[in-house]
Subunit: 342 residues, 2 copies
């Protein structure tokens, strides 16, 4: 028998190994029958974590059918969508179709919601074989069921935005919220975003500006991204460099900044971020491809007195803030809209 606190975290859905939390589990029970404190969602769309989708795509050489088969197999064997290689998941969108009498989430049957907890801990069952997905985009139209626990978080989708936009924005809503908090708390003036033309990157630039930063630099990987970002005005300066080449990053950025936000979804960006950050500054790692030891030992090895934060996907109010930044910032819309498959 599980305590209410344990049930709230979903421990009762863990099949193996026993006693861990759902995110650490190898396998979850995705049975659509809900307990008294649970909510069932009829799933309409998954949004795979960028690092996860990239890994799957590369592992299967861009073969969409193979990627689809791999995702199906992960969900079937694990009872959740957690890439064994990257450890990451993503999020989903759907309609509430059953609410246990003891659920504290305040949801009603028929609400259209996005889950703001990771797919890595969400019991998930797919019923359509992902037949409508070509395996070539991180947004996955699908049918199936997902379960929310008492301590999960879901956002009711706003009526004024297309679902795909809401999903894309909410998927990365932790990044702008954390960026805003760090910039405000530190009174930071200069902010660098690595991967600034991406979803979390452009939202983080907008959040940094709103939080009072006055010298915004956006680092991107090539000239076409530079042109796109430059046209938005989100950054005061756009630089092009390979984020995984620390010396190139440092040379491109020049004078070190107060706060660096890492939004690139590739491995090896830790050292460049540290080198680009001033003594006493802060690096916020939002990429799921971040290596803990590379960050920790890199800073030590360079005798860099920087504060390094593990980007926490949850900050109170993060969903509303990200959606509002999207609505209020033409530059953010200009970068996110083309990435969203209708």
């Amino acid at each position: 028998m599980r305590t209410a606190a344990e049930r709230a975290l979903g421990v009762h859905r863990v099949l193996e190994p026993a006693g861990v939390l759902p995110q650490a589990a190898h396998r979850l029970d995705a049975d659509p029958a809900i307990g008294p404190d649970e909510v069932r969602i009829s799933v309409q769309r998954l949004n795979l974590d960028a690092a996860s989708f990239r890994q799957l795509s590369e592992a299967h050489a861009g073969d969409g059918d193979a990627v689809r088969a791999a995702v199906l197999e992960i969900i079937r064997t694990r009872g959740k969508m957690q890439n064994p290689d990257t450890g990451s998941g993503g999020m989903l969108i759907g309609v509430v179709d059953a609410v246990g009498p003891g659920s504290p989430l305040g949801l009603s049957v028929g609400d259209r919601v996005a889950t703001l907890v990771s797919l890595t801990l969400t019991p998930l069952r797919i019923s359509d074989g992902l037949a409508d997905w070509d395996g070539r985009s991180e947004q996955v139209p699908c049918a199936g069921t997902a379960i929310l626990f008492a301590r999960s978080i879901a956002a009711v989708l706003p009526g004024d935005l297309p679902d795909a936009v809401s999903l894309a924005v909410l998927d990365v809503c932790g990044a702008p919220a954390a960026t805003a908090r760090v910039v405000a708390n530190a009174g930071a003036r200069s902010v660098l975003v690595l991967g600034a033309a991406g979803k979390s990157g452009c939202l983080s630039l907008a959040a940094a500006r709103a939080a009072g930063a006055t010298e915004l630099s956006g680092l991107v990987r090539n000239d076409s991204e530079a042109a796109a970002l430059g046209a938005t005005g989100l950054a005061d300066r756009v630089v092009v460099a390979d984020a995984t080449d620390p010396l190139a990053v440092s040379a491109a950025v020049g004078a070190p900044v107060d706060v660096t936000v890492v939004c690139v979804d590739v491995t090896g960006a830790e050292h460049g971020a540290i080198l680009a950050t001033a003594e006493g500054g802060t690096v916020v790692f939002f990429s799921m491809a971040t290596s803990f030891s590379a960050a920790a030992l890199g800073a030590e090895g360079m005798a860099a007195d920087v504060t390094m934060l593990v980007g926490n996907g949850y900050t109170p109010g993060h969903a509303a803030m990200a959606l509002e930044l999207y609505r209020a910032t033409p530059g953010v819309r200009a970068l996110i809209d083309p990435r969203v498959q209708g």
Copy 2:
């Protein structure tokens, strides 16, 4: 030709892949001939990172000869002691035997020093086949040469302490310095240390106390550690739990704390640390066994509004602070001395 800034970071010693910093390199050039800005150390003792030594020991079922052979092979093939599995290294002690005319480190030939940058980025050559080491302890007596760069950090060993003690303390000196800073900046009252009977754990408790924390909890894995820690008075409360079992940690700790410091050298401690920390609190991850994605997704999955720090092995003044805590705190000495092989 490398710039002086690149040479200061040791980029000229990287053999592959080209252009990365030494810590990220697969292989370094450990040639004992030094450049004008380098320092050569005649190595006397390595101190392997705890997570690395544990992994090697477990992989070879505690067979000391096999562990010794594995360490030798890593150093021979990589030109540095970086465990490919854990990504971590350790540190070393030795005597300065050559100083380039342009070295800014202020060292002189004959100085006895410990390196405060990781072995993962230190060019290292072993000349005695580790013949004096039995492969059963993380402290490795040896002969060989190591290279320091212009931006490396080394501490001259204090005359009043045995070398093995200095090495053991300096190896973990980042943890107490960072703990003290976090506690002071946050005005934290309650602090929990996971792995509190270990080297970094007991120093972190002492640092937290010195920084003003008033409710110190130490979590250890068994009754013998609890007895040892309890006898020191470093913690106001000692609890026993498996740090990798989040629900057990949470139950043992009870009311969540302001700051949690993770010093256990095993995987899977992220979720327990997050659960044990109050909303708005801070988790400092010092274990090299920390998983970035487990921390990031765990906090999000539990909707936990906690700040999570990647423990930075470098904070200005860290070496002097750790040595002073050792000297001034009988409880710290009582826990560290038995772990040190004379």
